[in-house]
Amino acid sequence: MAAMTLGETMSDATERPAGKGPLIYRQSIWTRVTHWVWAICLFFLLLTGLQIFNAHPALYIGQQSGFEFENAVLEIGAINTDAGPRGRTTIFGNSFDTTALGLGMSGSAERPIFTGFPGAVTIPSYRDLGTGRVVHFFFGWIFVATIFIWFVASFINGHIRRDIVPRPSDIAGVPRDIADHATLRFKHGRTYGPLQKLAYFGVFFILFPLIVATGLTMSPGINAAAPWMLDLFGGRQTARTIHFVVMLLLVTFFVVHIIMVFAAGPINELRSMISGWYRASPGTPTVEGDKP
């Protein structure tokens, strides 16, 4: 930034095709590789996670699962009605018919399949808890290793400081950024915008650590080594419930993430996450290393 002068900016702008900002090197190799490794990991972790959930499609609060008392917050099952079997989901004591969503019951009317989540969103597509666990733990290890690599690299190369941790000015800029998003006016700057920072801060500093920690709290081996984790999350079954809720939040993040990629310009966004180069908005000040 210090090397930039008004004169350089002006001369670059005249060389560039009209109405285009500079091409900036925005994403380091560490950001790009970890991004795609996570994308693969989270795909398999989600689909095998739903497979594992299907082995006992209920969530509880506390140390144990209430079979002779009530501490379930979510149950997905099926019931018999006069009109035949129906999928039923119970959340905080309120029951819903979720046959249309495939929750509790899926497949055809002649050959219904009774699982929590339908086979279309589980790996394997049929019930196989053992395989689900093998694949889940394999990608769990890669996921955790990638988080570790990302934190070290992003701390050293300044990605965390520059793009992830929101500053007071970012917080102040949130209302303006919300208005810009609502009207589909996106600024493609050198660093992330306020909402971007908040979203990624939430994923990297809250959701990722939380889903790993609650996953480990379900391990009886880890429970022996670190019983404080049971206390931190309020019991093994609460940890399992939090693990599930964080999954829902990550799925929500993914959906918004994809919508934003398309809304903000899929070619440019994809290019920046593949090659690192990103077309900034017109008027973005040029620095050394930019391309026209």
């Binding site: 795909f43 398999f44 689909l47 594992i52 959930f53 082995a55 006992h56 509880y60 140390q63 144990q64 699962s65 209430g66 079979f67 002779e68 339908p118 086979g119 969103v121 589980t122 790996i123 394997p124 597509s125 049929y126 196989d128 808890l129 053992g130 395989t131 666990r133 093998v134 694949v135 733990f137 394999f138 769990g140 290890w141 589909l184 996106f186 493609h188 379900m218 391990s219 009886p220 081996g221 880890i222 429970n223 022996a224 080594a225 019983p227 049971l230 093994r236 079954q237 994809i258 919508i259 990629v261 398309f262 809304a263 310009g265 899929p266 070619i267 440019n268 077309r279 908005s281 017109p282």
Partner: protein, 262 residues
């Protein structure tokens, strides 16, 4: 162009993204369910890593959490076999297990056997622990029994022994070619763990048949399938491959991880 977004473009792009989500599922990855598949076999190495890291990280004597009596809020939920139908077991059950013997054999200095009365007369340990099923549920109960370590010492485990194989009465699966009997195995760390007990009591009652009478092994730092019910023989070995399909247990033979600590 990337800066220009019309409503139509936006909606069309979102629809494409949405259909990608729906395509995600299906059965392209069902090959991972085949135990012969090399990709699956490579992925299974992650379980070996988990085992080694947990063994390195967690002290051999570190105890599983024990709970207070007030946390026993329900009976111990039975799962798997709940009433074995093998003739040997039904005969023993009829006699209230008077002729039951627990045998320790294999790579030991001397093969030893104990009756139920002998096991009950040995120093006992009681523990209120949480039972975690691989399916995902947990249940807290009080278990009473004889610590396994001293029993193994009475037999004298030979230095080359690496595993205990636990052989059970129950026919967990009945096939056209005969019954498949439940078995499990553990390393000697789990076998000698202070909370590893040959339990004969559950919640201050005699261990019921549904929960593994007369003897169920507790390995408290592992999932439920590592805690064999209806146990009759403990065999010290240096190799698990001769048993069952060679993976060290009935459930590991069907594709579950052998360690079971996660």
């Amino acid at each position: 162009m990337s800066g220009l977004i019309t409503r139509r473009n936006f909606l069309r792009s979102s629809a494409i993204a949405g259909s990608g989500l729906i395509l995600a599922g299906c059965d392209q990855f069902d090959f991972l369910g085949s135990k012969e598949n090399p990709v699956r076999q490579a992925m299974e190495q992650a379980n070996v890593l988990t085992y080694k890291v947990q063994r390195g990280l967690i002290g051999d004597q570190t105890l599983a959490r024990e709970y207070s009596a007030s946390e026993i809020r329900q009976g111990q939920r039975p799962n798997g076999s709940t009433d074995p139908s093998t003739p040997e077991y039904m005969f023993l059950k009829m006699q209230n297990f008077a002729d039951y013997k627990l045998t320790v054999k294999g790579m030991v200095e001397r093969e030893v056997s104990f009756s139920l009365a002998e096991l009950r007369n040995m120093p006992a340990r009681s523990q209120i622990t949480r039972h975690d099923c691989v399916e995902g549920w947990s249940c807290i109960a009080k278990w009473t029994g004889t610590p396994l370590g001293p029993i193994l010492d009475m037999a004298g485990v030979k230095p080359q022994a690496r595993f205990c194989v636990y052989r059970c009465f129950d026919n967990i699966q009945r096939t056209l070619s005969g019954d498949i009997l439940y078995y499990e195995s553990s390393d000697l760390v789990d076998a000698y763990h202070p909370q590893s007990i040959l339990s004969y009591g559950l919640n201050d009652q005699v261990l019921p048949v549904a929960n593994g009478a007369p003897i169920r092994l507790r390995i408290e730092r592992a999932l439920g399938y590592k805690q064999p019910k209806y146990l009759h023989t403990i065999e010290l070995v240096d190799d698990l491959s001769p048993f069952g399909k060679g993976k060290g247990g009935y459930w590991p033979d069907t594709g579950y991880d052998w360690y079971g600590g996660i």
